[in-house]
Amino acid sequence: MIIKVNNLVKRYGDLVALDHLSLEVKEGEVFGLLGPNGSGKTTAINCILSLLKYDKGEIEIFGRPMAPDAYDIKRDIGIIMQNVAVFDELTVYENIDYFCGLYVPDKGERKKLVESAIDFVGLNDFRKFYPKKLSGGLLRRLNIACGIAHRPKLIILDEPTVAVDPQSRNKILEGIERLNREGATVVYTSHYMEEVEQICTRIMILDKGRMIADGTKEELKAMITLGEKITVETFSFSKENLADLKKLPNIVSAEYRDHLLVVKSGKGQNNLETVLDFLKKNGVTFGKIYSELPTLNDVFLEITGKQLRD
C-alpha cells in the first residue's frame, strides 16, 4: 500500500474540513481525488504531506507513519502544488536544479535528472527564462518539472491544470500517464471530471470533507440509476407527446425546452431505438439526435443533488 489514511479529521474552528476520511492508494494506481472547490481535496493532500496539523487519524506512506521529519519517506514523494511554487529570481533550469538538489545531493546524477525533467515537460527552449517571462501553461509545466525531477515513487498533483490552455493541459495529462507507465504511483486532485475520467484508474469523490463514492469510473457509474441520456433537436413536440413518451418503459425522465428534448433512461439495451420508434410513430420531425453515457458529473449530481462545477 502506498498511502493509507485512516479516519482523518481536520477542523478549522467550527468548520470540519475533513470528516473521518479514509483512503488507500495502491502501487501503480492513478488515484483521482475529485470534488468541487472547498470539498477538502487540498486539505487532505496537505495533511498527508504532514504540512498541516490534524485533529485525529493516522497516515501511513509506503507502510510507515508519515511525519515532518520522515525524510526517507519524503525523499520518494514528488509534489506539484495547486499554486505555482517557484523562485522568481531563478531561471527555469536553476529552479528545477534547486528543488531537485534538495533530494539528490550528487551533482552529476542531478544534472541528468534535471535535463530529463526539462525534456519531459518540453521546456528545452526556455531553460534560461525567468518564470515571469513564461506563459501560464509553460509556468505550470515548470511547476511540474520541479516536483518530479527527482524521479519520485509517489507523485501528488494538486489541480495542476487550473487555468491552463488545452494544449498544455493535454501535454500535462499525457505526461502523468507516462510517469505512471514508468512506475510511479499518482495521486491526482481536480474538479475537472473529464481529466479524472481520462487518466485515473481509481476515483474518490469528496464533498464537504467526506468521501461520498470510491471506485473505478465504471464502478462509480454503475452506482447510479441513469443509463443513457438522449438529446433530440426538434421544433414540434407537444405536451401530449411528452406525456406519452414518459409512459414508455425504462424512461426515467423527459424534458422539452428550447427545442431540445432530453430523455434520460435507465440502464439497459435499446434505449435509443425506443425513442426513435416513438418519434417516428408520432410523426415528429427532428434534426440532430445524440446519445450520451453518464459522466462523473451525473454521478456527482445524483449523489449530492448538485452540479460538480458551479
Binding site: 504540512l51 525524510y71 502544488m81 529570481e89 536553476e94 534547486y98 538538489g101 534538495l102 545531493p105
Partner: protein, 379 residues
C-alpha cells in the same frame, strides 16, 4: 547540501533587484546626499578672518595707537580680521551689500555699525571692547601709580600674552559630521532586515508556496533556514563593506584607527539587521505590507533617535533618557562606531557590542522558537 542551498539562495537574493536597491544602492545614494549637504558644515563652523571695514576719517588717522592695533590683528596667518580702510559712504555700501560684517567708526569714541547680531559681529565688538577696556585700565593705573608710566606701562600694554593652553580631549577631533554617516551605516545595517523578512517567508509554508515545497523535501526546515540565513548575512555584510569602502575611500569619512574593530562592528550590525527582520517576520502574523511597515517604523524611529536626521537628538536622548539610547539598536551601532572613532578607552564600545550581541541573540532564539514547528494549523 550546504553549498547547493547556499549558492542557489545567493543567486535568489542578488537577483532581487528591488531589495538590492534598498539595501545597497539607497544607502550609497543617501551617503552621497549626506556628503553634499554636510560636507561644508565643518568649514562653516571653522573660524575664518572676519571681513570688516573701517571708516577712514581724520580722527581715525590721528588715533595712531588704535590704528596700529587694528592693523596688527589684520595681518598674518592667524589674523582675526580682513580689514578694508575706506571712506564712510563706501563702508556703508559694503555693509549693505553683505561684503563685510561690520564697519568701525572712530569719532570721540570707537563705535561700530552692523546689520545683524551674530557671532562674527560679537567678535568684532569684543575686540573693540578690549581696546577701550585696556585704555580705561591704563588711565586708572596712572591715576593710582603715576610712576608706572616711567616703569614701562606702555610696553606692558603692548605685551599681550596668551592665557590659554589647549589640552586635547581625545586623540580624535570632535568632527561632528561623522555621526550622520555612522548612523547612516547603522540604518543600512538594519535595512538588512528586508533580507531576514524574505528568509522567513521563504521557509514558512504558511507564508509562501515555495516554502511549502521546501517543507515537503527531505531536508530539515531549520537547516534550510540556517543555510539561507548564512547567504543573506554574507550578502548583506558584503553590501555594508561596499558602503564602508565608499564612505572611507570615496567620501573620506574618518573611522579612527581601529579598522579591524570597525569591520567587526559592521559584521555584527549585518547580523543584527538580518536577524531583526527574521524576528519581525516570524512574530508579526499579518501580511507582508504590515511586516515591512513594522520593520521600517523600528528602523526609522531608531535612526531618528540616533541622530540621523538631527544629530543633537542623539545627545539629548543620552542626556535625558539614557536607557532609551541603550535599547535603540540603531543607536547602539552608531555609538559603537562613534566610540571607536572618538574614545581612547574601550568601555563604552564594549557595552555597545554586548548589547548588539544580546539583541542578535534575542532575535535569533525568538525566531527559532516561532518557526521551529514544522506542521501548520492552516496554510
Amino acid at each position: 547540501m550546504f553549498l547547493h542551498i547556499f549558492k542557489a539562495r545567493l543567486k535568489c537574493l542578488i537577483r532581487d533587484r528591488q531589495m538590492m536597491f534598498w539595501t545597497l544602492l539607497f544607502p550609497l545614494i543617501l551617503a552621497t546626499f549626506f556628503n553634499m549637504a554636510l560636507g561644508n558644515l565643518n568649514n562653516t563652523e571653522a573660524f575664518h578672518p572676519i571681513d570688516i571695514a573701517v571708516a577712514d576719517n581724520a580722527q581715525y588717522r590721528e588715533n595712531q595707537q588704535f590704528r596700529s592695533v587694528l592693523k596688527e590683528v589684520s595681518e598674518g596667518d592667524d589674523r582675526i580680521f580682513n580689514l578694508t580702510e575706506t571712506d564712510p559712504q563706501n563702508a556703508e555700501k559694503l555693509l549693505a551689500d553683505g561684503k563685510i560684517k561690520a564697519y568701525v567708526t572712530v569719532n570721540s569714541k570707537v563705535g561700530m555699525t552692523v546689520r545683524e547680531s551674530g557671532l562674527s559681529q560679537n567678535i568684532v565688538r569684543a575686540f573693540l571692547n578690549s581696546y577701550s577696556q585696556t585704555s580705561s585700565a591704563v588711565t586708572s593705573i596712572v591715576r593710582e601709580n603715576p610712576a608706572s608710566l616711567r616703569n614701562g606701562l606702555i610696553k606692558e600694554v603692548s605685551d599681550r600674552k596668551e592665557y590659554t593652553k589647549e589640552v586635547s580631549g581625545s586623540s580624535a577631533e570632535p568632527n561632528n559630521v561623522l555621526n550622520y554617516f555612522y548612523s547612516l551605516i547603522a540604518m543600512s545595517c538594519l535595512y538588512g532586515g528586508f533580507w531576514g523578512l524574505k528568509e522567513v517567508a521563504d521557509v514558512q509554508a504558511d507564508l509562501s508556496t515555495r516554502a511549502a515545497r521546501v517543507n515537503v523535501a527531505p531536508v530539515h526546515k531549520l537547516k534550510v533556514f540556517l543555510y539561507n540565513m548564512c547567504a543573506a548575512i554574507l550578502l548583506h555584510f558584503s553590501e555594508m563593506l561596499v558602503l564602508l569602502a565608499y564612505l572611507y575611500f570615496g567620501l573620506k569619512i574618518d573611522f579612527g584607527l581601529k579598522t579591524a574593530l570597525v569591520l567587526l562592528t559592521t559584521f555584527a550590525g549585518s547580523i543584527l539587521g538580518v536577524s531583526l527582520g527574521a524576528f519581525v517576520s516570524a512574530l508579526v502574523k499579518k501580511g507582508e505590507g504590515v511586516k515591512v511597515a513594522v520593520l521600517l517604523a523600528v528602523t526609522m524611529t531608531g535612526s531618528f533617535l540616533a541622530g540621523m536626521m538631527v544629530q543633537e537628538i542623539k545627545y539629548a536622548v543620552a542626556q535625558n533618557a539614557p536607557i532609551l539610547s541603550y535599547l535603540n539598536p540603531v543607536n547602539l551601532l552608531t555609538d559603537a562606531f562613534y566610540s571607536l572613532y572618538y574614545y581612547d578607552v574601550m568601555t563604552r564600545y564594549g557595552w555597545n557590542m554586548a548589547m548588539i550581541g544580546a539583541y542578535a541573540l534575542l532575535f535569533c532564539t525568538g525566531t527559532y522558537f516561532i518557526i521551529r514547528r514544522q506542521k501548520y494549523a492552516s496554510l
